[in-house]
Symmetry: D2
């Protein structure tokens, strides 16, 4: 089964009924990569319209989860093993896009790198860069 954004969004909505309100969605998939979106939410910002760091982390984490789906199928639990994130610039008043490209899928761990930028902005002007590993089921 080819994993499309529609399949992912439907799966997540059913598995996590409260997720619809969190603002995350999958907007693009390919073999070994996926792009997640976090809708701008004026109720969860810092002064000046800055998107909080943990929200930037969250969209990167979700992108890793979606990317893993494209290789091993839908997984009800997101089991991130570790994640390193560098915050490179503030995100101001914008929805975020996070693209994860898997760099390796092994027996136990999948590893990916994730770039986060502002929707509508230059994808090279990164808000954050993250990399991490996801623990695969036995």
């Amino acid at each position: 089964m080819k994993i499309t954004p529609e399949i992912i969004n439907e799966f997540v909505a059913e598995a996590f009924p409260t997720a619809a309100s969190t603002g995350f969605s999958c907007v693009e998939t390919a073999d070994g990569s996926a792009t997640a979106r976090l809708a701008y939410n004026e109720h969860n910002i810092r002064p000046g319209g800055i998107v909080p760091g943990p929200s930037v982390f969250a969209v990167a984490d979700v992108a890793l989860w979606y990317a893993v789906f494209t290789r091993i199928g839908l997984q009800p639990m997101a089991v991130t093993s570790d994640m390193t994130i560098h915050f490179l610039r503030p995100a101001i008043g914008a929805s975020l896009l996070a693209k994860c490209s898997l760099t390796k899928v092994g027996k136990r761990l999948a590893h990916g790198e994730i770039r986060v930028w502002e929707e509508g902005g230059d994808p090279e002007r990164l808000i954050a860069f993250a990399s991490g590993a996801y623990a695969l089921p036995d």
Copy 2:
């Protein structure tokens, strides 16, 4: 001025009026360290009562911010430069505590390590271990 949990909680409530609803608070401070708490929120959990990874990251990030306060005073913006987190166990149905101990405060960066555990549980039974750097103001 000695930075107490009360001072931090009052400062954060004024600086971020919406923060009260997010469930974060400071519960302990010392010179170069601080403990943050994230109240269990049944509206933000995964199946089985598991606290989401980004929430675990968030309480670690907040603890770093609070710990920096104890050395350089109250800072309106949390400016995490980078953070690495290892998720060691799921947190299930519990509030979280995150203690940050600063390992160095330099001219440009403060660095700390953060341990996260379940409130009421064994503080050695870690939910997550994080370390990261905070960009100090010029």
Copy 3:
């Protein structure tokens, strides 16, 4: 001045007279990126011809240093601030190549991601993935 591999190798040989024996060299540069090479050294291997993890780290670290040169000029000291490395596969009996692409050059820090693979092998078959920050001079 355009920073070429020749300029970098000459500079490093003069600044660090012992470096010639360490096996590192720069083999490619572009604006914001550089590729470092670590020559296979049969005197510094693990059983089975495996290149030690710290040697893999070292070539990634050197690549970040070289890449910074392409943006701010030659710097006598390598001042890595932090580095995260995921070891994805063993490198066996081979020289290594490490390509660093800078993701941001700010006022205080430059951040890059680095991919390490075996010379002569598939550049997509990564030995390690690293990312880190370099502290820029005032």
Copy 4:
């Protein structure tokens, strides 16, 4: 079998006959922790007597390996999965000590934090702080 520094040093010397010349040794062990030493080597320094970053990484990596020994016995291969290191200060003209404390030993991964300081100096004045995971054998 209780794992002592002597047992570790003998094991490493036999498993890696070239290791004696690298300057690493184990100087202390306890259940779940170990301290590694890297002897100062005037042939492997930067101008000013600064110990290179990759050498600091190496002693941290070795400390993680030794600490794992105290829980699962001697392992011929060091299989670090990931490591994050923050370089906090230069180490100048000194041997290094690195103490690793394991924070969790699971089925697949052991995780530890490592502090590096100058031998003879203040153990709280850190040269580097690292944390990482080690892939346990099946």
